[in-house]
C-alpha cells in the first residue's frame, strides 16, 4: 500500500488529496489511478508535474515499499 498525496490543482481535479493505493511500483500506481480516473492519470503525467517518493524527487520508475509516500507536485508557484 502506498500513500498518495496530491497538491494544488491536481487535488482539485481529483476531488481528493490523500488516499492509499495498492501498488508495488510507480508504474503500477499510475495504472491503478488510471483505472479509477483516466483524466487524473493524464494530468499526473502532464508537463511540469514532479513526483516525490518519501519526500525525495524521482524521475521515471521507482519501486514502492509498503507505507511509501508518493506525492504528485504540479508546477510550484512560489510563495
Amino acid at each position: 500500500m502506498a500513500r498518495v498525496l496530491l497538491f494544488g490543482r491536481l487535488a482539485d481535479q481529483a476531488g481528493w488529496r490523500d488516499r492509499t493505493v495498492e501498488a508495488a511500483s510507480l508504474a503500477a500506481l499510475r495504472d491503478a489511478l488510471a483505472a479509477a480516473d483516466p483524466d487524473l492519470a493524464e494530468a499526473l503525467s502532464g508537463p511540469g508535474v514532479q513526483v516525490a517518493v518519501d519526500k525525495a524527487l524521482v524521475r521515471g520508475e521507482a519501486p514502492l515499499a509498503a507505507g511509501t509516500e508518493v506525492a504528485f507536485l504540479p508546477p510550484m508557484s512560489g510563495g
Binding site: 494544488g8 506525492a71 508557484s77 512560489g78 510563495g79
Partner: protein, 151 residues
C-alpha cells in the same frame, strides 16, 4: 523527521516586528540585519483571500537547502524565514525574511536572493479566491527573471 529551527511554516498570523526584535537580540558581532516582509495584496478587490499550500517536510527541507546555500554564498551569520500556509487575508504578512551578517551589503543581498527564490521556486501552491471564483497562480515572468539575476 528533521526540523529546521530557522525556518517556520505557520497557519497562524504572525507579527513581523516581534520576529525582528527576537532576531536582533544579543548580537554583539553582527553589524547588519536586513529584513523583508511580504503582505497579501487585495488586487483591487480581485482577491478576497490567498490560499497557500505546502508539503510539510518537503517544502521546509527545500527552503532549508536553498537558505544554507545563501548562507555560504553571502557569508551570513544567521537567517530566519517564516512563511504562512493556509488562508491569508489581504494586508496580512505572508513571509518574513531576516538575514544577519558582519556588513550591510551581504545582509541586503542575501535577503533579496532568498526572496527571489521564495517567490519563484519554493514548493508552494498558491490559489487566489475572489468574487469571480478561484484560480491557481503560477510564478510571473517577472518573478522568474528576478530569480535568474543570481544564476
Amino acid at each position: 523527521m528533521t526540523t529546521f529551527p530557522s525556518i517556520s511554516l505557520t497557519a497562524h498570523a504572525f507579527e513581523p516586528g516581534t520576529l525582528l526584535t527576537t532576531f536582533c537580540a544579543g548580537r554583539d558581532e553582527t553589524g547588519a540585519v536586513a529584513s523583508f516582509v511580504g503582505l497579501a495584496r487585495a488586487e483591487r478587490g480581485r482577491a478576497t483571500t490567498l490560499e497557500l499550500e505546502a508539503y510539510p517536510g518537503f517544502t521546509d527541507a527545500a527552503i532549508a537547502e536553498f537558505a544554507e546555500e545563501a548562507k555560504a554564498r553571502f557569508a551570513l551569520q544567521d537567517y530566519r524565514i517564516v512563511h504562512r500556509v493556509g488562508r491569508v487575508a489581504p494586508g496580512e504578512a505572508i513571509v518574513f525574511v531576516a538575514t544577519a551578517a558582519a556588513h550591510r551589503r551581504a545582509a541586503f543581498e542575501a535577503c533579496d536572493f532568498l526572496m527571489d527564490y521564495l517567490k519563484s521556486r519554493a514548493p508552494f501552491w498558491k490559489k487566489e479566491h475572489g468574487p469571480d471564483g478561484d484560480r491557481w497562480i503560477e510564478p510571473t515572468a517577472r518573478d522568474r527573471t528576478d530569480a535568474e539575476r543570481w544564476d
